[in-house]
């Protein structure tokens, strides 16, 4: 299995030699560097996504959008980040100070843990765990804890309602999301993200979305449940600004609010990259990611992002054109339609694989 920490450790050991004295330093570096890489990736990507969202929404609404900081306003997110850092950090008097402080970090850390197993194309993955997909499903549900914490700790009724809403929503939509991912696992037989990418091909008929009709349905189920998982419109109940003022982050200001914001946009990226990896072939260009040269490897990254960016665009597009559902409508949609549908997709995919010997619809074309 590919693992950045291990590679760094081997590299350092090979460069400076094995010794009992340097061993702890190597270990520390081997674990710290991937963390820093993941965190900076999260920050930069979500920063760019905020810019992207603002530009897209401006375009949808006949506005201009940010255009002051840097060329075409591209550095707007840096200016925003600096502003948030410089703002006063207000903690309400009656808040539970400890929980209030750590809640944003829990939310962020879950996203940032998910980034670890995202294959950016080629060999560029921080750790290719053999339980990769399950890992993502697990850590992304940690967000609920952070939201509930922030809702409770704020000691504000609107925030509490937002926290409870997010718990109800995310726990519900986790089920259809995970079930629709499992349809693909039936085909691949592995949870490793790199393996999932490698089992697909460069062309659309090699992708798992077109493997059989049920994965096609599962793709859309996952897209919609993904929207609900990352609290985007039409499912933005936890923060529903016209109903709950601002939901769980009502009382947050300054960088603590910024961290929530960062996590929200990083979640869009994570969700889009899971979709791209699992259903759309990730960065697969038909070459082996580890043994090919640097040029094909970079091309794989390009292919990966060429799939992720349109998916992010769809998420943003949906947000700026649809109104919000009502809480009970959202819940009944999940429990009455999505869970039975995704479950039958899972069963029918299994039957398909049994009937056609594990081959997809296009197996003759792709050879």
């Amino acid at each position: 299995m590919h693992n950045l920490a291990e590679i760094i450790y081997q590299f350092l050991a090979g460069r400076f030699g094995q010794s009992a004295l340097l061993e702890p330093v190597f270990t520390l570096a081997a674990y710290l560097i991937p963390c820093i890489v993941a965190l900076s990736l999260v920050s930069v990507i979500s920063g760019l996504l905020t810019y992207f969202e603002r530009k897209v929404s401006a375009d949808i609404q006949n506005r201009i959008g940010p255009n002051r900081v840097g060329p075409y306003g591209i550095f707007q997110f840096i200016a925003d980040g600096v502003k948030l850092l410089m703002k006063e950090d207000i903690i309400p008097d009656a808040a539970d100070r400890f929980l209030f402080r750590i809640a944003p970090y829990i939310v962020l850390s879950s996203t940032f843990l998910a980034v670890i197993v995202v294959p950016f194309g080629g060999p560029f993955i921080i750790a290719d765990l053999d339980i990769g997909l399950i890992f993502i499903v697990v850590v992304s549900s940690l967000v609920v804890v952070g939201f509930l914490m922030s809702g409770w700790a704020s000691n504000n009724k609107w925030a509490l309602l937002g926290g409870i809403r997010s718990a109800a929503q995310m726990i519900s939509y986790e089920i259809p999301a995970a079930l629709s991912l499992l349809t693909v696992i039936l085909i691949t037989g592995t949870f490793s993200m790199q393996q999932i990418v490698m089992k697909q091909g460069p062309w659309p008929w090699d992708w798992f979305i077109f493997h059989n009709p049920f994965t096609f349905v599962a793709f859309f189920l996952f897209m919609i449940s993904g929207l609900a998982e990352i609290n985007r419109l039409p499912f933005d109940f936890p923060e529903a600004e016209s109903e709950l003022v601002s939901g769980y982050n009502t009382e947050y200001s300054g960088m603590r609010f910024g961290i929530f914001f960062l996590a929200e946009f990083a979640n869009i990226f994570v969700s889009a990259s899971i979709t791209a990896t699992v259903f759309l072939g990730g960065g697969n260009i038909g070459l082996d990611p580890y043994t090919s040269g640097i040029a094909p490897q970079l091309f794989m990254v390009l292919v990966f992002f060429a799939k992720v960016v349109p998916l992010c665009f769809v998420t943003i597009w949906v947000r700026w054109s649809l109104p919000r559902l009502r809480l009970d409508q959202m819940m009944s949609m999940c429990w009455k339609y999505f869970i039975p549908l995704s479950f039958s997709c899972l069963v029918l995919t299994a039957l398909w694989l049994l009937a056609f010997n594990g081959n997809g619809v296009f197996w003759r074309i792709s050879g």
Binding site: Q61, N62, R165, A240, S321, P323, R324, L325, R326, L327
Partner: protein, 374 residues
């Protein structure tokens, strides 16, 4: 006031909540997401306009009427001017009547755009609101060319209007209403009104029967949304409205029960089209030249008497009850507004709905806070 169940909590919604349209406050008794009742608390924008009226000469009160309903200031001007004119029996020049009607109907369009957009904004759809405001910007430009102001116009005067139309006004207005009627509304409906999520949020929510609507003194689009065909412009015509050919849109349960939020919404959309029809006819009939203002004495004193005049504002009928003692100031002026009864009604219809539905109901009534408090 009322007894509380053990699992209830009291939520304070407003006065600075994002979806209370100005400064309105609701005290909610909720059980989680379900609401037992909402008690409206108004008065945050009470400026004592009725008292100010008693302290100012008749003409000097005109700018204050702008502030009753700042989204539809011309309609408020119009109502007040009409009241004083009917009491003092002042003749208004022909051209001024047309300019009044055109500007009032333009204001109705502009006001409904904000109302419809804000309702969608409350439901989480930001884009239709921005699109509606984009069109309202054109209306603002038109009004600016007419009277120099963009929000509080103070255009109508007792005995006429303040200025004649500027050159090119008819052409620009015609282009604006053509764009609204044939392009914008279709686009807006496609984007927002016929969206499945939106329909599901609006239908069968906040249902008011016709009897209830009359019983609670609802007026304007809120009354018509319940299926009561009553419009002051038709039933008690004032100014020159009897010269125009237009329909009164009423709610008929387009997607759900009659009198639900969607009907109130849809009545407003149709009213925009009817306003376009009126403006188009008025532009045809309006005389090219002529005086726009009757000369009033410097110290204007209407005769002693009492009068009640109702006009159709975007938020329902606006009634002015004027008592004159023959002096230079009104003796008593009572302003009856549409939002006042609508705000009282919100508390009645919002029993046992969800918090999200309360937001829908407030939006569907199109309440403007200064109009409640005056």
């Amino acid at each position: 006031m009322t007894e509380f169940l053990s699992d209830e909590m009291v939520l304070n919604m407003g006065p600075h909540h994002p979806s209370t349209h100005g400064v309105l406050r609701f005290i909610l008794q909720t059980d989680g997401e379900m609401m037992r009742r909402a008690i409206p608390d108004v008065g945050f924008l009470h400026r004592g306009i009725e008292k100010i009226a008693e302290l100012l000469p008749y003409q000097a009160f005109m700018p204050y009427t702008d502030r009753i309903d700042y989204l539809a200031s011309i309609c408020c001007n119009f109502g007040y001017a009409l009241t004083v004119e009917r009491l003092a029996q002042i003749e208004v020049p022909e051209k001024a009547e047309y300019l009044r009607v055109i500007s009032a109907e333009l204001t109705r369009i502009g006001s409904h755009f904000v109302g419809l957009g804000a309702l969608l904004l409350d439901l989480g759809a930001v884009t239709p609101f921005v699109h509606a405001l984009r069109e309202r910007e054109v209306y603002n430009d038109l009004m600016e060319s007419l009277c120099g102001a963009r929000l509080t116009h103070n255009y109508v005067r007792i005995g006429g209007v303040s200025y004649d139309e500027p050159p090119g006004f008819r052409e620009k207005t015609r282009r604006f209403i053509d764009h609204i009627e044939y392009e914008f509304l279709d686009e807006f409906n496609e984007l927002a009104s016929f969206n499945t999520i939106f329909i599901n949020r609006m239908k069968n929510v906040g249902v008011i029967t016709a009897e209830d609507a009359i019983e609670h003194s609802l007026v304007g689009p809120n009354l018509r949304g319940s299926g009561v065909k009553h419009d002051i412009r038709k039933n008690d015509p004032y100014s020159i409205y009897n010269r125009f050919n237009f329909d009164i849109p009423v709610g008929h349960g387009k997607f759900g029960t009659m009198g639900d939020c969607y009907d109130r919404y849809w009545v407003r959309v149709e009213e925009v089209m009817e306003s376009c029809r009126i403006i188009r006819q008025a532009l045809e009939l309006m005389p090219e030249t002529g005086p726009v203002r009757t000369k009033l004495p410097r110290v204007f004193k209407p005769p002693k008497g009492e009068i009640y005049v109702r006009t159709e504002c975007p938020r329902g009928e606006m009634g002015f009850y004027l008592i004159s003692d023959g002096g230079k100031n009104p003796y008593r002026l009572k302003i009856r507004t549409g939002s006042f009864s609508a705000a009282a009604m919100i508390g009645e219809v919002s029993q046992g709905v969800m918090v999200a539905d309360l937001v829908t109901i407030i939006g569907s009534f199109d309440v403007v806070a200064p109009e409640i408090d005056r």
